[in-house]
Amino acid sequence: MAATYDFIIIGSGTSGGVLAHNLQKSGAKCLLIEAGKYFKKETFPKNEADASTQLYWGGGLEFNESATMAFLRTRAVGGTSIVNQCLMNRFDDIAFRDWKTQSEVGFFNEKDMSSYYEKVEKALVLHTFDKSEFNNNAKKFTAGCDKLGYKWDYLQRGQSDCALDKGNDCIGCLGGCRRDSKQSTMVAFIQKAEKIGLEILTEFTVDSVENKTDSVLVKGEKAGQKQVLTAKKIILAGGSFGSTGILLRSGFKDRLPALGKYFSSHPQFMSFGIYDEYIDSHKGAFQSVASKDPSFRQKGFKLENVFASPISIGMLFNSVGKRHQELMRQYRNMACIEVAVRDEPSGEIFLNKKGKVVVRKELTTRDRSRRDQGLEVIQNIFSNSGAKEVVHSPYYFGLHLMGGCVIGSNAQTSVVDPDFKVHGMDNIYISDSSIYPNAPGINPSLTIMALSQKLSEQLTR
């Protein structure tokens, strides 16, 4: 079968958006495939309930095998960049050093990666917060940190005009930004690529791929109809679960022993400080600061100043009846800090008998120790900023899904080679979060974009 496209990109998220844009711009004939719908700023779901059921895989949440940890990932054009907080950080020396140790990939260092970071940063509108934009949640966090001598820093976020000064509340953009201010890949890359002819196939779920000598077959389904598409080269950009699932369903596990291994997720644990006065953490800039204490980085955790809408807050408390109502009555009095753990890549992704992706991932002793150190700091921050009660949620979740198709030079311990090519397959590439060798302990998106920038330059050279 003659290839119809030069490139098919499977998955339109943080990685796929950058790739589709760059490859289309180079003059190649590209198709971007996405399992989800194409929502635009006018059509994003209008409330928390609709957003979580319509935008997320699994109708809201997915779980690990033992149902102790929940995972969130998006199914829509723009992928998880549609719902994420769009906090953008380059990796530091520690993250790259640990990647290089595991993968033996030479370009994992700040210097070699800097030109790719620069190019994606230039394509985005980035904003660094300042004190004038703090909501009360951020004020409590920084006051507690200052009192205890912990370092914190202003966050850098992809946003063009959030109209905070006009009273806009950014918590709503967890269900998609209604202003096209948040720099999702839909806004920053895909819509631009569409204007220069990018073809997008939505609501098409890829089941498997088949590698031929000079082409690749992509097999999938749209509205119950099976279809096969062909391209000279394909790039998997389905994220950790998506890309790994496709390769597993394609029967590549025998050839790629590391397929599905080294999954990590930066498990996040949320704690609430309850104050006498209104905090209104749901108002204004949703997240503007995070911890920046070198000792936390060394210990393997970071703190972020976050919050959530009422349904999620209700879920996070392990209570019903009167206690639930007592807590929800104080919704406006709550500040919130989460500890995100730099976890060990001990998870594994595999298929069950029905061909469904299953994730085996438990906290290790080291992960729990890191969590506990973070929770102790949070307790102190709240106590030192006037909280009358502190509630630690027993539930935790992974928002940064990483690994499963990790990059490396050794085909026994990795899935893609340092040129992003699946070992032994000349026409199949990956540069999304599934190639992360281990958890960086830093927001992953900017680096996913930088790696996808590197791959697109390599493919169009």
Binding site: T53, S309, G314, Y395
Partner: protein, 132 residues
Amino acid sequence: MSKILSKSALIAVNRIGDIIIPHSNEFPSFSEAGGIEHIDDIMSYTPPGDVKDLNMVLSILAYCPGFVLNILVKQMLSSNKKTGPLSPILRQLDIGLRGIVFTCYYSGKTGSSYKGKNPLDIIGYKITRLED
């Protein structure tokens, strides 16, 4: 009426919902608020296999006496500390059932015959989303 959940499944959700959110001075109970009328909006994206399992479990729960449901809710809540063979199922039930109940209750939508204050107004949740 729901096209997704059976009649007995709806009865079970209302009964469990009232244990999770009973009537109090300020709050209407789960069934009083009537958010369950909008259950199909919430569940239309749930994978068909999960809907089938849920309908089956809820249809059984609909006929359990109240004290059994109370015990179940307690077990669900403590399941995250447990490790036995039943604990993953209880954890999934916990997230699934509380998920449905809180999503219906705090969605901003109430039942057609409910005349009281919206739960979101009671907790003071109001956000402004400016479009350009």
